[in-house]
Amino acid sequence: MSAQSRRNFLKLSGGAFALGSFAGAPAFAQSPPVKIGVLAARSGVLASIGECALATVQWWADGVNKAGGILGRKVELVVEEEGNPKETAERFRKLALRDNVEMVTGLISTGSGLSVGPIAEELKTIWMSWDATTQKDVEETLPNPKYSFRSTDNEVEGLMASLLTVKHFKGKIKTVANLGTDYSYGRNMWETFMAMMKKYDMGVAPVADLWVKVGTTDLTTFVASLQQAKPDLIMSSLLFTDAFIFVKQAHAAGLTGASKLVMPAGGFQLNEMKKQYTPEGMILGHNSMYFEAPNASPLLKEFVAYYKGKTGLFPHFEADRAYSAVASWKAGVEKAAQQTSGKWPSKDEIIKAIEGISVESLGGTFSYRPDHIPDCNFYMGFTTHNNPYDIVTISPVETLNTRDYQKPAGADFFKWIQAKQFPNLS
């Protein structure tokens, strides 16, 4: 079915559904719309990430409205741009104070997250974050957030990549190299990886420790440097444009044949991991959503088809981050409304309802812990060329749930790694 005819079908079926429920549910016209603020990065390095997330939220909102809205109220998105922390803080305040939105969703960058978190708490505005979480966030700024709902610890994909490395390469590698993205996330990834290598007595020594400035488009020197170091395995936390440029330039120089590659967050750039230069047998991570997950739900399939039709690209995992955030909030509202006999619940009631809630997201079941950190699936696997596309896919797809792989509230991350008995990967 073409994208256009599918859209028409959805419109018709949605319309029919609305008509059908007209008798029971309050019509849109009678209730004021529910305004949701969206803080999406639209320029700079984060632009392609933010755009995907924004498109997902818009798709979700359209779907919700076609089905009658939330408690009969139409969803209206107020979109602002996530920029540097100062701009983002300003836009957040604008959404909360001037637009009086019910909830703000968004944010990818950690710096902005550190600024917005306290503001959300102070203004008592529910903030459903897409990303913007690192160790520091959780430890320092908001130890007990009430209004902020965070994203998963980024370290989970580092853990998963490490576990896969241990499972498949123990005894087979002696040297490792770091090709890190030069900011807090990259540092967290490398520290996590090396801590895990140590924990499992992998006996590997780091022979190169390279850091790529965010926004770099020429990595030839990094490739050359790695070739000189001759590592058995390269752990690369690159996740922006530099991720696929690295693979491209590495392939051209012969590096991808010589060293094993691990890219825990490379899935962001899945559309650019072309078969021409991306090797098979590379560990590629897709965070909380893989577009071709083995047990893909109808929801995921519908979304992927929609997104591909609209943009020509497959969605990356930020789509799930965004979807799960807004879907959980909606579910929380509806659950709280059961106690208030259909009236719009208060923020406190909504928050209580979201804690512990479970929804079906694009990446599978998604839930929020009482400490406002989510549990969800993570997907990672070895790349293969065996597919009908021009990009690599992963097979078999390893899935894990953060319930077993994400540290509990208040724990020290590295101490927790040391002590934890990780269940074996399937």
Binding site: R42, S43, G44, V45, A47, S48, G50, E51, D209, L210, W211, K213, G215, T217, D218, L219, T220, T221, F222, V223, A224, S225, Q227, Q228, F240, T241, F244, I245, K248, Q249, A252, A253, G254, L255, G257, A258, N271, E272, K274, Q276, Y277, T311, L313
Partner: protein, 294 residues
Amino acid sequence: MLASANILVGGVFHAAVLFLVAAGLQIVFGVQKIVNLACGSFYALGAYFGISALAWAAAFEVPAIAYIPILVGSGLLLAIVLGPSVERLLRLIYDRDEHFQILLTFALVLIFEDAIRLIWGAVPLQTINVYFAFGELRIASDLAIPNYNLIVIAAAALISAAFGWMLRRTRFGRIVRATAENKQMSEALCVDVSKVYMAVFTLGVALGTVGGALVVPAGAASIDMGVELIVDAFAVVIIGGLGSMPGALIGALIVGFVRSAAIWLYPEFELLAIYVIVITVLIVRPQGLLARTA
């Protein structure tokens, strides 16, 4: 040892890219005394437009040999379209304090940043076929330099030589040099200075756009690629000397090598090394290494 050769080539490749952008800065400054903050933007525009041109050409299934001319051609085309219009805009404030010219080019940086997003979108773009189409230079069993890198280096060297020849041997070059040295005298000698300015500015833009187009197959085009490059380009022209074309070459090589060496030997200082060199040069020899006038 062999891998060091690879690092060397990496440094030269980076230098080649920088040279093209910096050369564009230099020629415009040398003649018109304008510091064009938008030189990085032209580079980015050239990259995006090059990708579009190749995508368009792919529909006609052109052979690999045509890729390079298409890229260069698209860069030139873009320059011919953009250069004169931007120059006309700048012309309105030639007689003003040069501060205003810098600020006008800053405005252009803002405009082009959004224009790119408007036209090509936020998702990074790349072209696949070109980079691998020319084979590679195999140094060892697991060590190769893609010939495309060498082509880019050669192209930059060729352009550099062509420029030198143009400035020194052709009539146009002599007029350009004369106008650069003494605008009023040139005018007195019946040189149509406004035409020279337009040609020179377009040439400067072309260097940026062609540079962007040539380099993009090896990497990708992203929205912020122009803004980041400005600082490097500035570093190159300060080190080499404002207004000096050979200076752009030397400066580019220095910055390219320092970058490579830092990445290889002392990554902590990669970012800082360039600025430290810039500041040192500005203190010790402010006119740059090769400028004739301070």
